[in-house]
């Protein structure tokens, strides 16, 4: 019988660069020269895992064997264990400049760490417990401080961050959103990121992931995006974006010519055989004369050159040369239909938060303004005022530009959440101002560099009319809080001085002085004296 089973289960290791039915991997790189001489690059590695459900209970997690071929096992297990149907995690560094760089390829460009996930409820474990396990697991997986995204930083917006894929039916899902603006992305995050790729950095587009150049870029960020599509299965997108600066890298030449060798210090010497598609897209400039080598294999109608890596055997080093060898900085053409600016004005305890929304198109727009703040910042919503081009608007409905969709006050050390729907009239600027109060927090709650202030999360502007960018992030703010002096000698001196003043002073006083009643009899002189004194 044993012999029979051995015969039946012949060695079934397949040898081919073939495709697997249940899992698929593809990769692409988008390059886009920007008007300020920079070069935007976005690496995208997509793995699709078919016929899998995400939601599991804890007991089922242990019972069922898990088989993965291309999908990173460590991430897959985390998603399964904590019943995560959709996950978006980004670690960015720098500020995305919407005015001169346009819309990013991936809308999540908030500085620092941002994470949002749709987690299934039920199954003997609360969503908060699952979130905690997920954040801790991801911080281990990516060597980032996701573990500090605890309930002090986590909110559940009710309008923003709708699922980008489908949610498995039959289970109720909950959205959790958290940001960590002070988190930085660096080499220690890129190394585990590369480990999740099936070809690592040994072949294919990932060969260009050179930490020395990527972390030197003017803006860089990595993302892990997981969503579930009813027809496709689980889709994992690992992304890395960098806004490189060829003008700076060319040193004194001031040239914006670039090549893989010059901006990444690497070239692609061999394709990743596992990828079902492996392409490089270069957005072709329309105004300035240029030349692109090697010859383009294909051009898409919208002015994008496409290089297919799969049929290419020789080394690939894409080069773009401009006719003008020296790059001259020109005034930036801002083509963004909507721009946002946010300010925090005021002192350490009372301040005004003000956000300016500029609509440059001749249509009325509706946007969602999402503001999440740490628990010590209170909004005085009754002070919310709106002005259009400097003219103050009333609060009655015909004049009202704002509608508060949801508001969660900061109770029990949970963050403040404000979702507000703002109507912006055509070609005008709306400025919203709200008074905030910054509470004093316990001395243990201050960060180690307390006097530097708190990094406050960016506001998110989400157009509700599905026109234009999906999300716009403002820059982060630095909140100045009343901080105690944490220096130890100072505290010791203050403490001892207080004790001495209180105890020694009062006791010495009582012991050395005597308090007696002085009876003043019918002595006119004395009474006059008292009168004079009281007068």
């Amino acid at each position: 019988m044993l012999v029979l089973t051995i015969l039946a289960l012949q060695l079934a290791v397949a040898f081919a660069a073939g495709e697997n039915d249940s899992e698929q991997f593809s990769e692409n790189l988008r390059l886009r020269p920007l008007q300020d001489g920079r070069l935007s690059s976005t690496f995208e590695f997509v793995t699709i895992l078919r016929t899998r459900t995400t939601v599991e209970s804890e007991s089922a997690f242990h019972e069922q064997a898990q088989h993965y071929t291309l999908f990173p096992l460590a991430l897959g297990q985390l998603l399964r264990r904590y019943a995560v149907s959709e996950l978006h995690l980004t670690l960015n560094s720098g500020k995305w400049n919407y005015e001169s760089w346009g819309d990013p390829d991936y809308p999540s460009v908030a500085s620092g760490a941002e994470m949002w996930a749709w987690i299934a409820a039920g199954g003997g474990e609360s969503v908060d417990q699952r979130w905690k396990g997920l954040t801790n697991g991801l911080s281990g997986l990516l060597c980032a401080s996701m573990g500090s995204l605890d309930k002090k930083r986590t909110t559940s917006p009710s309008i923003a961050f709708r699922p980008e894929g489908d949610l498995p039916s039959g289970k109720s899902h909950q959205l959790l959103y958290a940001t960590l603006p002070s988190e930085n992305v660096c080499t220690e995050n890129l190394t585990p990121f590369i480990k999740m790729l099936p070809c690592k950095a040994k072949s294919g587009i990932a060969m260009l992931l050179n930490p020395h150049r990527l972390f030197d870029a003017d803006w860089h960020g990595m993302g892990v995006h997981v969503r579930w599509l009813a027809q496709e299965g689980i889709e994992l997108r690992l992304t890395f974006g960098a806004v490189l600066n060829p003008v700076r890298l060319s040193l004194n030449a001031m040239s914006r010519d670039w090549s893989f060798r010059s901006v990444f210090d690497r070239t692609i010497s061999r394709p990743c055989p596992i990828a079902t598609s492996s392409s490089i897209y270069v957005k072709l400039p329309y105004a300035d004369p240029y030349s692109l080598t090697p010859d383009i294999s294909r051009t898409a109608p919208e002015g994008v050159a496409i290089y297919d890596l799969r049929d290419r055997l020789e080394e690939l080093d894409v080069k773009m040369r401009w006719r003008d060898p020296v790059f001259h900085f020109r005034p930036i053409e801002n083509k963004q239909p909507l721009s946002v600016r946010r300010l925090l004005l005021g002192g350490q305890t009372r301040a005004d938060l003000s956000i300016q929304l500029m609509n440059k198109e001749n249509v009325t727009r509706q946007v969602l303004w999402l503001e999440t703040m740490p628990w010590f910042i209170y909004f005085y919503l009754h002070t919310l005022t709106a002005t259009i081009d400097g003219n103050r608007m009333g609060k009655a409905p015909p004049h009202s530009l704002t509608r508060i969709a949801s508001y969660a006050p900061p109770t029990d050390h949970k963050p403040t959440l404000l979702e507000c729907i703002v109507t912006i009239p055509p070609l005008s600027t709306v400025q919203l101002t709200v008074a905030v109060e910054k509470a004093s927090i316990a001395y243990t709650e201050h960060p180690p560099d307390a006097s530097r202030g708190w990094d406050l999360p960016p506001a998110v502007i989400q157009p509700l009319d599905h026109h234009g960018p999906r999300r716009i992030y403002t820059s982060t703010l630095l909140g100045d809080l009343p901080t105690p002096d944490f220096s130890m000698p100072y505290n010791v001196i203050i403490m001892t001085c207080t004790l001495v003043a209180l105890f020694f002073g009062s006791i010495f006083n009582i012991l050395t002085r005597s308090f007696i009643w002085v009876e003043v009899e019918g002595d006119d002189d004395a009474q006059d004296l008292v009168k004079q004194k009281t007068e």
């Binding site: 290791v13 064997a65 999908f71 096992l73 999740m196 690592k200 007696i516």
Partner: protein, 469 residues
């Protein structure tokens, strides 16, 4: 007004007394408050009970009923006496067993069927004509066919020893109630053509491992995870075709390869099918091109058209057996059973793991006691105390009750879990501990420095004086 002055003086003295008295009263009442807020919660641990565990000898009861066909009846008393002398002289190996060797199988089981083994000495049938005894195991019975030439009593005793107390494999992994088995397919370089890209692993697991894992489920629970994609073993240092012993140690670069998920803290046993770029890689010491990394897992090197490997999973199964410490049956014994493991093997494994866990528990408890004794300001909270008491109760059960092998293992594993949880309780690390020597050393160093700096200034001033002169 002389009387007023007197009154003042009297009032002053009495109020001064009152003030001074109340001052001391406040200090007196503050003392217990100060004491209770600054003292460390340090519950007493059952020191005598822990100490008494060390001298306790675990005696697991086993009953062996010897029966023989009439022609070999004379062998039975010989076996009995040989057995007694052998077990007495090899106490280190037999010490934890309390064996009752009974002459007749007709006597009703004294200990219950779970710990009773029947050994039947019979005449050989035609098959063992070549002079070797024929041994067959089925359930907890052993049928021993004696050839015409006869056998020696010591042979029976050694056979029993091999079956009841099999040797411990040196690669055996640490005990854990749950293991994760991580199977990975790794290419030396997946970018080169001809790399292995898929592996029909689900059928292989069902066919080769599931029966074993089901039977072992009374010892451990298993979770399986596999990664069988065409992955590259990034930057393996090793180059060449023949691996030697030294290269095996560095063969697995687990920092570079993500082989298992880190979703929980279960012990992971790794099994790797490694496909080199150029076929013909051999490990010099093995005919199957496979090796075990002790306590970590197994590796099979697969050179694509390889006739020598029947199936990697047959090798993985035997590697799993060694890593879990499953005893193997000596080659001259046939096992008649529908299952993969015989009751003899499974019992021996359960007993061994039970004994190991008991030893481990006692060691952990002793370490806790030592640590708490040595570091006088280490807090001991109620949870630690509860865990220690729970572990001791489970140990008492193991020692006093005549447990079946399966319940012995479950109780002893409970004891081990509790004791290690107490040992690693984060509450015991609430403070920084500096040994007294360390504190003295710092004080001495500071005094030295002060003295030195004092001397330096004197010398400096002396020089200045001489310059002035």
């Amino acid at each position: 007004m002389p009387s007023d002055g007197e009154d003042i003086a009297v009032a002053q003295i009495s109020s001064r007394r009152l003030i001074l008295r109340s001052y001391w009263i406040v200090v007196l009442f503050a003392l217990p408050l100060w004491w209770s807020t600054t003292s460390i919660e340090r519950l007493s641990l059952p020191a005598t009970r822990v100490r008494s565990q060390q001298n306790r000898q675990l005696r697991l009861p086993i009953e062996i009923a010897l029966d023989s066909c009439p022609s070999h009846a004379a062998l039975v008393p010989q076996i009995l006496s040989e057995f007694t002398s052998w077990t007495n002289s090899h106490n280190d190996r037999w010490g934890h067993l309390d064996v009752h060797l009974v002459n007749n199988s007709d006597t009703s089981p004294y200990l219950g069927t779970a710990s009773r083994y029947n050994v039947k000495l019979g005449c050989c049938r035609s098959t063992c004509a070549n002079g070797h005894p024929e041994i067959t195991l089925s359930d907890r019975n052993m049928q021993l066919g004696i050839p015409k030439e006869g056998i020696r009593a010591s042979y029976v005793v050694r056979t029993l020893e091999d079956l009841l107390i099999p040797p411990v494999p040196s690669v055996q992994a640490q005990f854990s109630p749950r293991y994760r088995l991580a199977f990975s397919l790794l290419n030396e370089d997946a970018a080169v053509g001809g790399a292995a890209s898929a592996w029909a692993i689900e059928d292989a697991i069902d066919g080769y491992l599931t029966p074993t894992l089901t039977e072992l489920s009374i010892v451990h629970n298993f979770t399986i995870e596999t990664v069988t994609g065409p992955r590259t073993a990034a930057d393996s240092e090793w180059k060449g075709y023949e691996l030697d012993q030294d290269e095996l140690k560095t063969f697995i670069n687990s920092a570079e390869w993500t082989l298992a998920s880190s979703v929980n803290n279960d012990i992971v046993l790794h099994f790797i099918l490694f496909v080199p770029t150029h076929s013909g890689v051999r490990w010099t010491r093995s005919s199957t091109n496979a090796f075990i990394i002790p306590q970590w897992g197994g590796v099979v090197i697969y050179n694509p058209p390889d006739s020598r490997i029947s199936h990697p999973f047959a090798i993985f199964r035997s590697q799993l057996h060694s890593l879990l410490g499953v005893p193997s049956v000596p080659p001259n014994i046939t096992v008649k059973t529908d299952s993969v493991l015989s009751a003899w093997q499974l019992d021996a494994l359960l007993r061994r793991r039970g004994v190991e866990n008991t030893k481990g528990t006692i060691e952990a408890l002793n370490s806790i006691m030592k640590l708490v004794d040595r570091i006088s300001n280490m807090p001991v909270r109620a949870d630690v105390r509860g865990d220690v008491l729970g572990a001791l109760d489970a140990l008492d059960d193991v020692h006093t009750h005549r447990l079946s092998p399966a319940s012995l293992l479950s109780r002893s594993s409970e004891a081990l879990t509790l004791s290690s949880r107490a040992f690693f309780n984060p509450g015991m690390l609430a403070m920084l501990y500096f040994p007294v020597e360390h504190k003295y050393a710092i004080r001495a160093w500071r005094q030295e420095r002060r003295k030195k700096s004092g001397g330096d200034t004197k010398r400096d001033s002396g020089e200045e004086v001489s310059k002035d002169d």
